[in-house]
């Protein structure tokens, strides 16, 4: 491909299609204009390109650049006309919904789940030989679900054949129908024991659109998710997207394969983590679902909590978290019945927004729980491979470390990025910072940011055609840095001394003693850096080890430097009145809602 200087990218979401224009200015790529329009997948339009063209048209109007010639994107760019490439992501129509199967639930079952999630899918169910369901229950479940695609794995190469074939037999017996299109065959991917492939072909070949690819777990010690993920992306385009209204036209418009939105977000997060050598957690909290992405030591994981969200699924957050866990974040007393009615009213009228401060505070309380629960689910899946044999000596017998350890090490986390309406459009950036800190409880020193206009999907697909352009825009235009959270890990009694600190801020050196339970905000603007020294007391870890002094440069942001001495995990006062006072104190410390 010739040099790329001007790019227009769209993300077709369930409700809104967002377009951005990226232009090379000197040696750097910058995001210059954006436009949006309602997504037009459903009736009466039933043609996704209508919304795409409308959103690009808005970019045209704002930028003065002519991009469209009727329903065609003008390529390549020449002067003030056209773009070098048009790219897109899509999550419209409910995204990519998959069912996965593996022989052992915690081994190939989990690998299949990670593979599908990483490709950007919602996993509707995990079928496994040992999932404790009876055969007829499994078959019934497969029949009920109408997945867009099925991924069958199982068996290391040279391992079990019969268990894998049994899974295929269940699928064949259920004869599942795809969600879209009653005439086409359901795409099934087989990525298991290569020896079982001929039998799988015999069992499923005639009734499904079967693709056989490399085993996702060729040996227990190694996952090989790349080839199957690529097949998922290909089939997503060929089968699922091709069935959705107008997508055939969209595929023709784009200069690179359309990616599922979360798949693209995963792509940019991996690119950033790799290029900057950092560990990253990202979260996107939407109306219906919450996605969590993590990259630790270059290992990427993504999970989607399908029923945790701020509008369509808001009532489910309450059901999953429990009313006490929601109300514990509210800085005033509230009647349970009233709270329940308010939440249900948001569920049935999902587009409404809080007008009163009190309503905003309730939504923020629910958001903290949605984020917390989504992160709990992420931690459960972002683990090392289970079932790996390791050599153990006699001394190891006393050290009961199991396989499947969590990959999420909060002390090693460098950057926590949030996106989604409740975070990106919070009336104050301090509120977004507080939501991220309270829900994820970062440890040690962690930078916080929000994706200002949810540009990460666009940059993910852009990274597949120009990594330079994607990383330039990510660093300069995508993120709004909130600041840095410094959180010594301790379980000290509230009020007891846990550390002393010294920080050289632009307005002078601040120093003081940190008392357990305290929360402090210091001014440190975006682009500014300050030298921080923390000397924790014995047993308290600020990032250099228990009791060890930490000296580190910290970066500023719109919410500045936040020193969180509340301990990990956060401790809430047992008494309801004391708890309300506690939350009110935390609220004041970060000046979350004004006076």
């Amino acid at each position: 491909m010739s040099e790329i200087n001007v790019v227009v990218a769209t993300d077709c979401g369930s409700t809104t299609t967002k377009a951005i224009l990226i232009e090379k200015q000197g040696d750097l790529y910058r995001q210059t204009y954006r436009g949006e329009a309602p997504t037009t997948v459903e009736a009466p339009f039933e043609d996704v390109t209508r919304g795409v063209l409308n959103s690009i048209q808005e970019v045209e109007e704002l930028s003065g650049r002519r991009i469209l010639d009727g329903e065609r994107v003008i390529t390549p760019a020449s002067g003030d006309e056209g773009v070098d490439i048009y790219i897109s992501t899509s999550s419209a129509g409910g995204g990519l919904q998959m069912m996965v199967a593996g022989v052992v639930q915690s081994m190939t079952g989990e690998s299949a789940q990670r593979c599908a999630l990483g490709a950007g899918a919602i996993v509707m169910d995990v079928l496994a030989a040992n999932d404790k369901r009876l055969p007829h229950e499994k078959i019934e479940r497969i029949r009920q679900l109408r997945p867009d695609m099925v991924l069958v794995s199982g068996g290391t190469d040279g391992g079990t054949v019969s268990h894998v074939v049994e899974l295929a037999e269940f699928i064949a017996a259920a004869d599942p129908k795809p969600r879209f299109g009653s005439t086409f065959e359901l795409p099934v991917i087989f990525a298991g024991n290569a020896d079982a492939a001929p039998e799988i072909e015999k069992t499923l070949g005639a009734t499904t659109a079967l693709t056989v690819t490399e085993n996702i777990r060729p040996v227990l010690e190694r996952e090989n998710l790349g080839p199957a993920r690529q097949v998922i992306h290909d089939l997503f385009l060929e089968h699922v997207m091709a069935q959705a209204p107008g997508y055939q036209k969209l595929i023709e418009l784009t200069g690179a394969p359309i990616m599922p939105t979360p798949g693209a977000v995963g792509e940019i997060m991996q690119t950033i983590a790799r290029r900057q050598g950092i560990n990253v957690i990202g979260v996107d909290i939407g109306g219906a679902t919450t996605d969590v992405f993590s990259v630790f030591d270059q290992l990427f994981n993504r999970t989607v909590s399908a029923n945790l969200g701020m509008s369509y699924s808001i009532s489910n957050v309450l059901a999953a978290a429990g009313i006490e866990n929601v109300t514990r974040w509210v800085p005033f007393a509230i009647d349970e019945a009233d709270l329940r009615d308010r939440i249900k009213n948001k569920m049935i009228r999902p587009t409404t927004i809080p007008q009163l401060l009190e309503e905003l505070q309730i939504e923020h309380a629910i958001a903290r729980e949605a984020l917390r629960l989504a992160f709990v689910q992420h931690r459960e899946l972002a683990v090392g491979l289970k079932g790996v044999q390791s050599e153990r000596t006699l001394s190891d017998a006393f050290d009961q470390t199991a396989t499947g350890e969590s990959l999420i090490q909060m002390m090693q986390l460098d950057l926590l990025v949030g996106s989604g309406g409740v975070l990106s459009h919070a009336p104050s950036r301090n509120q977004a910072a507080a939501l991220l800190i309270d829900a994820f409880q970062p440890e040690g020193v962690t930078r916080l940011a929000v994706d200002s206009i949810f540009m990460m999907p666009h940059l993910g697909v852009l990274s597949t055609v120009s990594e330079q352009a994607a990383t330039d825009v990510f660093a300069r235009d995508c993120l709004i840095y909130l600041g840095t959270c410094v959180a010594p890990v301790h379980a000290e009694k509230a009020g007891s001394a846990c550390a002393t600190y010294e920080v050289a801020l632009p307005d002078g050196t601040h120093q003081g003693e940190l008392k357990a339970g305290g929360l402090h905000q210091l001014p440190l603007a975006t682009g500014e850096t300050a030298g921080l020294t923390i000397r924790p007391v014995r047993g308290v870890d600020a990032g250099a080890g228990p009791g060890q002094e930490l000296k580190i440069p910290v970066h500023g942001g719109v919410a500045g430097l936040i020193i969180d001495a509340r301990g990990r995990p956060l401790q809430f006062a047992a008494d309801a009145g004391a708890r309300t006072d506690q939350i009110a104190a935390w609220t004041r410390a970060l000046n979350l809602y004004g006076d």
Binding site: E42, R143, R349
Partner: protein
């Protein structure tokens, strides 16, 4: 974006209502184009594939999967009867013979030489789609279903539970602000659809259910009562399949909210007529709201199903606030400022000014109002 408000629910005393009656799988359409149909008439029917049962025969027979074919008494595609043998071993001494009987009646679908598993499929389950409303067949989709058209009153609720049902409509209260309390439920309401004004109390639902009422309609319900009614906390608003003895529809929302005057007046006017109602609600991906249809012999001044309020916001339009602090109040648009305004929560949003029925003026985010058709 241009449409930052919630389009209103459709509430009409004289409408042309079209109902799509579609089979879950291809089948047979039982009526013809132009036919007059009644609500309980079968419009289309099909057969869902029967349940599947698997039997691992190798474990029972003590053979290898490859040997299994030799022991089968029934071939793939042949019928099987519950209790009748499907496979047996052939030992030299008859005494050691093992026989495996079919656990269900149906057909033998497959025999696997890899896993030793045999799949049996029970007979198909017949499924019938009824007309749901009295009306006329105006469209036939071969093998898929039909569209039935009727003239009459049409009301979309905001939320419901329970499936399609019908019965005589009976109004329980005099004013839209009157709650549906247990003492207002008549003992002789079996087979009827009961309609009230504001809050439907839990005790009233219980009494109606016990008396055999088919449905109950009101302005609001408390979430706590809904939880008690369902037996669980509803997480996502996808409803319609609950088996709770009756169908419940609320027209305004959760809590004690008076029914909109227009909705109440239409229900009042239809009292004594036969109504078809459905509680099915789906907020996400293809919005579906519960509905009340009262076919009438005459009428038909409006056309189409759903939609409504597409003329957009304009000065003087009637609206209802759908979020605190004005939740449930009705007024008219008095100004539409173009610039963003800061509301109490601190957010900068697009707003409108409204004059409520009592003359009070207020500023409300555009996202927090719903237009009312007049």
């Amino acid at each position: 974006m241009a449409h930052a408000y919630t389009p209103g629910l459709r509430v009409s005393s004289h409408a042309t209502v079209r109902k799509l009656r579609r089979l879950p799988l291809k089948g047979e359409v039982a009526v013809s184009l132009g036919d007059a149909v009644t609500r309980d008439q079968v419009a289309a029917r099909t057969e869902l594939p029967g349940n599947v049962t698997s039997v691992n025969l190798v474990n029972k027979l003590g053979c290898t999967p490859a040997e299994l074919a030799n022991y089968m008494l029934v071939k793939e595609g042949e019928p099987v009867t519950a209790g009748a043998p499907i496979a047996e071993t052939r030992p030299l001494i008859k005494w050691f013979k093992t026989v495996v009987d079919a656990p269900v009646t149906g057909t033998l679908e497959s025999v696997s030489s890899v896993t030793g598993q045999v799949i049996l499929r029970e007979p198909p389950n017949p499924v019938e789609v009824l007309a749901f409303v009295d009306g006329q067949v105006v469209e036939v989709m071969e093998e898929e279903g039909v569209t039935i058209e009727t003239e009459g009153a049409y009301i979309q609720g905001i939320f419901g539970v329970g499936g399609e049902t019908w019965g005589k409509l009976r109004l329980l209260v005099d004013r839209p602000s009157d709650a549906v309390t247990a003492d207002r439920i008549p003992g002789d309401c079996a087979g009827e659809i009961l309609a009230g004004g504001s809050l439907i109390e839990h005790a009233a639902i219980e009494k109606a259910r016990q008396a055999g009422a088919k449905g109950i309609i009101g302005g609001g319900i408390r979430d706590q009562d809904l939880r008690d009614l369902l037996g669980y906390d509803l997480g996502v608003a996808i409803t319609g399949t609950e088996k709770i003895g009756l169908t419940l529809i609320v027209t305004e929302g959760f809590g004690s909210i008076a029914m909109a005057h227009k909705t109440f007046e239409i229900l009042e006017g239809c009292a004594g007529s036969e109504a078809s109602i459905s509680g099915a609600t789906q907020i996400r991906a293809g919005v579906m709201r519960p509905e009340i249809i009262v076919p009438a012999a005459t009428g038909g001044s409006e056309h189409g199903e759903g939609g409504g309020a597409d003329a957009g916001l304009s000065l003087g339009r009637q609206l209802r606030a759908i979020r605190a602090p004005y939740f449930g109040r009705i007024g008219r648009v008095s100004d539409l400022p173009a610039e963003l305004r800061q509301v109490e929560s601190g957010a900068q949003v697009r707003v409108l000014e409204v004059e409520f029925e009592d003359g009070e003026q207020a500023v409300v985010p555009r996202a927090n109002v719903e237009l009312i058709e007049e």
